[in-house]
């Protein structure tokens, strides 16, 4: 990647009146390997190259991006960003202010043992076909089965007029399985290790191998079929146990998004909405029970939201969001942190591609481990339901009223899993739900990767992580479906 192109951008924008300029030049490689019903379904590579220029002129932001990596285009795009910022200044109430620069020269690369892009494609295909055929072989009622692998790599160079010059290589990969059983118009699905196409980690191919998909394929197929004959999850209020694969999305929707400071300040009001965690509740609002400790941590090894520096050049760090149930922190950028008179950004500004504007994005939003063992939580539950693997999700525009469905549930009676339940759903209000959390385990704490978090206008997709373990929530409303 060309530092020369970056310098041309910085110089042009500065000469045209920018008081601050940063440029990201990058390339993305995104490999998809999916097999379905014994055949290749999507074997493809997506490559993206380009750059994006962000400037402040007359106290207002401007941004322009392009896929054409030439010096002429660099100059034109820098000029365009300046013109856009000048136009922005026409509808400005106050000038943009940033927290002090933490910029530096730096390098970062995801640690890995086995480069996923160097593993031969046919090896991946053979592996996936074996797992997928195992699912299909469990029953004639399996009408669709698939297995997938995905590898992603982003090489990027960040430069700014504050002297930053940071190059990073972020690599992640993962995969999963899915089996769909159909009978008389009823469809039941099971996935492994989670839905949303599996699990992902900033690691090498060794992470994908550790998923051991073939070892779980039989269970995926059998459980999808078993669900067809299972009892429906009844409507009631009961103790709810969520395993990490579902709790990860619960954290994402009801803690990750509402603690994004841009949302809380109204900057996403026209699209995804605002947040019930408004600034005057910081340090005062009881978000959850004393067992609830949640952090935004971009430094966790293997987390899908792990990196060296964010797209403003801020080094990766860990920030408390919820401490012993109290709302204590936001995910911030340099601009929004300054708005709250904080000294530094939490370091979560990221863009989906070099040509996109960085936004506050989740890094790894983790529920810290508790003191229980996951089995102990089940044994301690007299009457309840345990739900796992997400199937549907929805939450309101302030992140309060949520409803989730999962693929499968187990009825718990007197400390034992009694039977499988189908079509499970649960619903609640965020602070009441987290306030009812009375147990968090430690032995099954792990990182879950969500590669498809959407935000912003124009819409951007980002890869984020959630560390969590099995947890219990008392008196939760379940079984919303008729």
């Amino acid at each position: 990647m060309s530092a020369e192109l970056g310098k041309a951008v910085l110089e042009t924008a500065r000469k045209n009146g920018a008081s601050y300029v940063d440029v990201r030049i990058g390339e993305v490689f995104d490999e998809h390997v999916t097999v379905k019903k014994g055949l290749p379904d999507d074997i493809s590579l997506r490559q993206t190259n380009g750059f994006g220029v962000r400037v402040i002129v007359d106290g207002a932001w401007g941004f322009a991006g392009s896929v054409f990596l030439t010096k002429g285009e660099a100059v034109q795009t820098a000029q365009a960003a300046v013109s856009i910022a000048k136009a922005s200044s026409k509808a400005k109430k106050k000038p943009v202010a940033l927290t002090p620069s933490e910029s530096r020269k730096g390098k970062y690369a995801t640690k890995m043992k086995k480069d996923p892009f160097r593993v031969p494609l046919d090896e991946k295909i053979d592996f996936l076909l074996h797992a997928e055929r195992t699912i299909a072989g469990q029953s004639d009622l399996i009408k669709s089965s698939s297995a997938f692998f995905r590898a992603f790599r982003e090489n990027k160079l960040f430069m700014s007029t504050e002297g930053a010059e940071i190059s990073q290589q972020i690599t992640w990969c993962g995969g999963g399985l899915e089996g769909v059983a159909v009978r008389n118009g009823e469809v039941q699905r099971r996935s492994f290790p989670a839905s949303f196409r599996g699990n992902f980690s900033t690691s090498g191919y060794e992470f994908f191998e550790s998923l051991a998909l073939s070892d779980h394929a039989k269970q995926v197929g059998q459980e999808a079929v078993k669900l067809l004959d299972a009892e429906k999850c009844a409507a009631t209020e009961t103790d709810l146990i969520l395993t990490g694969d579902q709790l990860a999305l619960q954290i994402h929707e009801s803690c990750g998004h509402p603690t994004e400071l841009d949302r809380a300040l109204g900057m996403e009001a026209d699209y995804a909405g605002t947040s019930f965690l408004v600034p005057n509740k910081l340090g005062k609002l009881k978000y959850g029970s004393k067992y609830v400790n949640i952090v935004a941590d971009a430094t966790v090894p293997g987390g899908l939201g792990t990196f060296g520096f964010d797209d403003e050049g801020t080094p990766a760090r860990c920030t408390d969001l919820i401490k012993s149930g109290l709302f204590v922190g936001y995910q911030t950028s340099r601009e929004t942190a300054a708005e709250l008179r904080q000294k530094r950004s939490s370091g979560g500004m990221r863009a989906q591609s070099p040509m996109a504007l960085p936004l506050i994005r989740m890094t790894n939003i983790n529920l810290l481990p508790g003191n229980w063992k996951s089995d102990e939580i089940v044994e301690d539950t007299k009457k309840g339901v345990s739900m796992m693997v997400n199937k549907s999700w929805s939450i309101d525009d302030r992140r309060l009223n949520f409803q989730f469905g999962t693929e499968i549930a187990w009825k718990i009676k007197n400390g034992s899993k009694e039977k499988i339940l189908k079509n499970p759903t649960y619903t609640g209000m965020t602070p009441i739900f987290w306030g009812s959390c009375d147990a968090v385990s430690k032995n099954d704490w792990k990182m879950w990767g969500t590669p498809n978090c959407g935000k912003g206008v124009p819409g951007q997709v980002m890869y984020v992580g959630h560390g969590c373990a099995t947890a219990r929530f008392t008196k939760t409303r379940i079984g919303v479906l008729r």
Binding site: G65, K90, G185, R398
Partner: protein
């Protein structure tokens, strides 16, 4: 870059693929020039422009398929992309379901799909419109606390060439405006919003959008709580659009239909919806926003009746050449996703130009017909719960009102609905006569006999 230049890029890449040993090849190239001025807290906070372009290469050798999508229009890099696509194909197993890339079919360009003035809008123009909207919204009431939204303009073009002689292209312009207003009084907030979309920027009435959002936000202050349950419900065109677009997404793709995961599969030729309910997918209709004559394989996009007077049939399903090839005698309906979507969206065929037929009722008549019910401005975060039963869940947003004795009486707290569309749209009392675009979907207002609300957001 012109569509002619894009076509030359695609043709050159196809020739390169054949030279390197492909049996068949298809290359779609695209360019997209977009700009968006976004505002929040009554000031511009994000103002962006983006120049994107690339190629989607598909090569076949001995029934083995390789695809590569590259964000580049550089000749040397495209040649490299073709080579990589071939390398993928060579190591892939043959796909027995693949019959052939499609042969060319006659197509005609759509007049009025592209407006050069919309494509050429400047940042100053957009900022001026934004300033007008912020001022207008605040001028409606001193209770308006903040105004948010965006004004976007742009254009995109694509060209497709294949070794079987397909040669097709399209160019469209798009302009959108949306405004969300937040009003406040004595500790209560009210939200209101509106939006418009057009191929022509001059057709957008941005002042009306700002006024509508502001008025709704003021009327939404101090909402009361109503109990969950089944209510007669009047859906604005924007709320109707959520139901129609999710029906399209869940039901009418050949991929989900063939996998047995579409509700259509289990209700063929049944009166599954109210007989007043008709939805078509038609890229040539003047209401269509993304007016492209051909799909991502360069085949003409056929107009399909997805729902014909409440009935779905085999003729409702959207096919590309691959899914059509899996059924004897079936032909593509021209619903392969366009090249730009191939980069960002699903690869399966699905409807992107849906239009629900209008009825003969005015909004006033629909509200007057309700004894005790709910008016919904728009839905938020809707998602399928069970696609085969067409069950959706989501919340209301930006203006939910109680209707009592034929009149809107007061704002209510946002409600969660969880219901099957096969139930909710089975009894539609009235359909509005005015159509409105919400993104790619065009819909009228609708009065439903009942919609099942399952929860309340208490704020």
């Amino acid at each position: 870059m012109s569509t002619k230049q894009l076509l030359e890029i695609s043709e050159k890449a196809v020739k390169a693929a054949l030279k390197k040993g492909a049996d068949q090849a298809q290359v779609a190239s695209f360019i997209m020039d977009t700009a968006l001025t976004r505002f929040a807290n009554s000031q511009i906070h994000q103002n962006v422009a983006n120049k994107n372009g690339g190629v989607a290469v598909k090569v076949i050798t001995k029934k083995k398929i390789g695809t590569l999508r590259a964000n580049t229009l550089d000749a040397k890099k495209i040649e490299d992309a073709v080579e990589k696509a071939l390398n993928i194909a060579r190591v892939s197993p043959p796909n027995k379901d693949f019959k052939s890339l499609p042969s060319p079919q006659k197509w005609t360009p759509i007049k009025g799909a592209f407006d050069p003035k919309t494509a050429a809008c400047t940042p100053e123009f957009r900022a001026g419109k934004v300033k007008d909207m912020i001022q207008k919204a605040h001028s409606k009431s001193t209770r308006i606390k903040a105004v948010a939204g965006s004004f976007s303009t742009g254009s995109s073009s694509f060209a497709i060439s294949s070794s079987l002689g397909v040669s097709a292209y399209a160019q469209v312009s798009l302009a959108s405006v949306n405004v969300t207003a937040i009003a406040e009084a004595t500790g209560s907030q009210g939200f209101g919003s509106d939006e418009q979309h057009s191929r022509f920027v001059k057709a957008l009435d941005h002042i009306h959008v700002a006024e509508e959002a502001a008025e709704k936000s003021v009327r939404s202050i101090k909402p009361i709580k109503i109990e969950p349950g089944e209510y007669e419900t009047v859906l604005s065109p924007r709320a109707s659009a959520t139901f129609v677009s999710f029906l399209g997404f869940m039901g009418f793709s050949a991929t989900t239909y063939q996998d047995g995961q579409s509700f259509v599969k289990y209700h063929l030729d049944e009166q599954v919806f109210d007989e007043k309910f008709t939805v078509k997918d038609d890229s040539k209709d003047p209401w269509t926003l993304y007016a492209v004559p051909v799909d991502g394989e360069g085949l003409p996009k056929k107009s399909l009746k997805l729902i014909d007077r409440g009935v779905v049939s085999e003729g409702s399903i959207c096919y590309d050449s691959f899914t059509a090839g899996k059924e004897k005698g079936r032909k593509s309906t021209g619903h392969a996703p366009p090249p730009i979507m191939m980069f960002f969206g699903p690869m399966r065929p699905f409807p992107i130009n849906m239009i629900a037929s209008s009825g003969d009722a005015s909004m006033e008549e629909m509200i007057k017909d309700v004894r005790h019910g709910v008016f919904v401005t728009r839905f938020h975060y809707t998602n399928p719960v069970d696609p085969t039963k067409a069950i959706l869940t989501g919340l209301t947003r930006d203006g939910t009102f109680l209707i009592e004795n034929g009149e809107i009486s007061q704002p209510v707290m946002n409600l969660r609905y969880t219901d099957s569309m096969l139930t909710a749209l089975k009894k539609i009392d009235m359909i509005g006569k005015a159509l409105q675009r919400t993104g790619d979907t065009t819909t009228p207002a609708m009065k439903l006999k009942k919609l099942r609300f399952t929860g309340v957001t208490e704020y």
